[in-house]
Subunit: 337 residues, 4 copies
């Protein structure tokens, strides 16, 4: 921890902070510049993080030196995490892993139709929403448990794991019963009580970045899951909110290399939600893979004009097939070494 004082800070104010630091059994190293004083605090930063030093008179700024997310940080964890999903699929093992499927599970037929095609094109898992977070209360809210059942049947039929979102603390046990991977949506990224529950759910978790979450926020949210006992976490970039309105969300492709430098967890991208319309899904998917993503999650529908949610951003199965070929080719080029 580094504490910078105002130019106007008095010796007494500095001494007051030094005392507080020593009280916490840490070692303050004081550097007096011509105009400003700075204290370096040596010792376990965790101890001092919660002390409201910012509130001490004379203090201008308090700057942490250590990362606030020690379990998911690469500091001290050099090896990348490989997340096993279901029996045969993995995320983060060096190959490009693609998860595909409809936005919402609308019926057994719809799900099975799409699943058959995306698996044939190389998807390692199938996604589909049973509980849908919709901005309007008047929109389709998902099939609920019925949807979960179709997902499980589909999973058995095609021998492929299924991914679905959980939104409500009271539904966690139910979703765990049917799904192979639980997804936390962007709007729930800082639903801390949900994160704690998922830390104990025994299944891998895909954690989507919130629309206004910094990369540090995302890693602290992941730390919640990790601190509760679950390190099978996959981070997902899906676009952030900016001033630009020409596209639904600004796909923050930079987060891919930045996250790779900060955490050992696998990183996937969701080009469908960032794009909002299918025309932009392929270029964003290519961009994310080129930037080094470990995987991609993408929405596919056989009849987008009739989709009950997010039809405009769904790819037709044939488009998805050609997308797969190009994404794999790009992944081969950018692979290190």
């Amino acid at each position: 921890m580094i504490i910078i004082f105002k130019t106007s800070a008095t010796q007494d104010q500095v001494a007051h902070v030094v005392e507080k630091v020593q009280e916490l059994k840490l070692n303050p190293m004081v550097a007096r510049g011509t105009l400003k004083t700075v204290i370096n605090v040596l010792g376990d930063e965790e101890v001092i993080r919660e002390a409201p030093l910012q509130t001490f008179p004379g203090v201008e700024k308090v700057i942490p030196v250590m990362k606030k997310y020690k379990l998911v940080s690469r500091e001290g964890h050099d090896q990348k995490t490989v997340v096993q999903i279901g029996e045969n699929a993995r995320l983060g093992d060096g190959k490009l892993s693609v998860i595909a499927g409809p936005c919402s599970v609308e019926s057994r037929d719809q799900l099975f139709g799409i699943a058959g095609k995306v698996v044939k094109s190389g998807a390692i898992a199938v996604r589909g929403g049973a509980f849908k977070p919709r901005t309007s209360p008047y929109s389709f809210q998902g099939l609920g448990e019925e949807g979960l059942k179709y997902l499980q049947e589909m999973s058995q039929e095609f021998s492929v794991p299924c991914v679905t979102e959980v939104m409500d603390n009271r539904d966690v046990d139910l979703v765990v019963k049917y799904a192979d991977v639980l997804q936390v949506g962007a709007r729930n990224m800082q639903n801390f009580s949900l994160l704690k529950q998922l830390g104990q759910c025994g299944k891998p978790v895909i954690l989507k970045r919130g629309m206004s979450a910094t990369i540090e926020d995302l890693l602290q949210a992941a730390e919640y899951i990790a601190a509760s006992g679950n390190l099978n976490i996959v981070l997902c970039e899906r676009g952030i909110r900016t001033f630009e309105t020409a596209i639904r969300n600004s796909f923050d492709v930079s987060s891919v290399p930045v996250l790779k430098s900060l955490t050992h967890l696998p990183i996937i991208i969701d080009p469908s939600h960032a794009a909002g319309v299918w025309e932009y899904v392929a270029p964003l998917a290519f961009a994310g893979v080129a930037a080094g993503a470990d995987g991609v999650i993408v929405e596919v529908h056989e009849e987008p004009e009739k989709a009950l949610s997010d039809g405009p951003q769904a790819l037709l199965p044939a488009k998805f097939e050609s997308l797969m070929l190009k994404m794999n080719a790009i992944a081969d080029i950018v692979k290190e070494g």
Copy 2:
């Protein structure tokens, strides 16, 4: 609903959309300009909102004409809502209503000490967190039910309603038992299953604006609560996330007059969370009141250096007292008429 076609759209593509609109029993009014065609859809917009018209070939843009939040909109509801909290307090009745108290309930003594002072200075309700949403899993997470009990005792002791946050779907019943007003934090503004529960909880709700929520998102979140049966909703501006880092959040003071023009619900401001440090709390509070806010929620602590959460932004009781005087004076000036 207005549908704008691309310059390249064909007659068949326009006809395909017209057909879809008629299928929904709505009335399409086609305007063919020299370069572009536009369709005005007359009839109940709700019916067409869910149709993925954006995905139809030739369509450039789909623009809604009606607000997506009909229960909380001023369109058709001219009279402002007054929210009764507890027996004697009201929000939105034309007077400035101030809620104050500590960030977290830390002990019975701490809460009672602060409550006594803020009530004396004119606060109409006391706030205090029992369940705390913290960005780090290693931070103090609140006293839980013990905190709720202190709140209820305090409420009885000082004859003043208490306000506290609920974060977990499983805690709603518990919190309802003890608290007079339930607060939804910024990070849960789009936790739709929580919003639905609060629509049926029977107590007033303070809904804080999410850090990246547009004003329209906030009103749609309020619509979730309203659509589930509860119209006792108070909206709260507490700062948004922007590129500016000189202050914790950018206090979006414009939202006050904008919200007043769009909704009949009362609007309060939270200068403490926007500021992040106590020095800026007063100017932001004055600004929000000057912009027309119906109330203010503000954090007060007797020993900020020892606070277990958000110490830097807490006001001392004496500061709060002088704040009250100036806020009331400003409210008198800007009152219409």
Copy 3:
């Protein structure tokens, strides 16, 4: 300057940086924590700022301790600057100073008509654009020198200084000839060659904050003017670009108290450009004054429906008059002491 090393940094990498610091005749103070090393550099920070230390192997972050804008900073300049404009008006002298007038000078009559009214209501200076920065090349671009002449005549007629914008390096001498105060628009805030010229122009400058400029950027832009010899600078908050689209720009009212704590220069607000529509001008003006602004610049027009630019945001003279009364009343309340 503080240099934080990565956990993986080697002793040699630290030594390499120490050497560089010593080469610059500064004093490196090394603090070795258990996991990370930190260097405090003592001595004139200016010397080291330009060294690309970030590029040295092993370095994680470089954090400046001193402000980058030493002439306009409050660090070492306790007394607030009062800017004299024309013979009788001042900005920053403790009274609320209001500048008003049309967006564009459209004709001699239009300008004189408005000027007479706003001066009578208490404006200390009149604004009017002769060169207009328009986002579209097909919009009205201003009357040019003709407009400047009308401004000067108006200024003499009403014994009030005039404020106008300069956009082109080649026009600075021309504008200086006619105007009392030169304004730099938001889009030119980082037009560094223009700023340097204005540092030598001999007239006060109003510097508007760029739409995506941080407060630090604004102060560094002001430093350009100051470093070229002109300290008669007035800073102006006029809204920033955020994700919110319900209003033209997000009026960053927090910048008022933040700037007051960082600089000795006067700070004014422009509620008209932030609002974009006249209905929101008054609440934003009240908010800015309540937050402590030294002055306000606001657009007034007698026939907004016929205005050649920014008609929707113009106040009618009668509205301006009542605005003045309320703004002055608020300023009296928030005045310190």
Copy 4:
């Protein structure tokens, strides 16, 4: 143009707008819904754009139907523009065009050393700054005309065109004398008088997107150059300002496909300025190429630790060479067809 009225709008208010539209010799088509009235205005939208209809009583919103940038829009210009730079190089011809060189020209030797290497690796043009826009007035500001002379000599020596920035209206003629392509920096994207001058300069222009410029703003800025007579314009994405601080700017990779759908001009990317540090330059470059960019502009330096500007983001020549190979391979994959 579409005009939406408030639910509270009266018949007289609608009639008043209809009258205004007819006065402009346009054709208003009125659609009365149950709750709201909408007018479609048929005819040349340019005529009505400047009328301040937003200010008319009863009007809620005014929505343009046509693009505001007709010369650079794809609406009506199907064929992509190919920009010829110097005698042998082109941008937008279907091949990936890479421009490389140092941030600043620091000396003849420095420039020639880097130029030789990047040309050998396949760069089609060399960049180098002679006038540098620096956020601090105390930073290195460029060699000025001396730098321009070195650029011209280098250009002749290596038979490769040179690209350099112009910042000051008074320098345009000077820069035109020496450079093959003139660049407008992000901070000057809306320096409209500079844009107008460049419309008449007779050389191709690279227009960088401003940090807070929307895609529409960028296209309107390009329209300024086009409307003044110059259609040899190349657009450049270089990152936007968002709330994320883990990287210097958020590289808005989505702008590449969005711009390709909206304009016929070539689009290049600048990964160096977005990244701010060299480690992230390659992933962002790959991402931009994968998203379909026509070219890349990238900073290269032989001794980044000694660079006078932007050293941290410069690539070593050997890194640049391997970057070229991978970028070309990715471009081959994503090429349509």
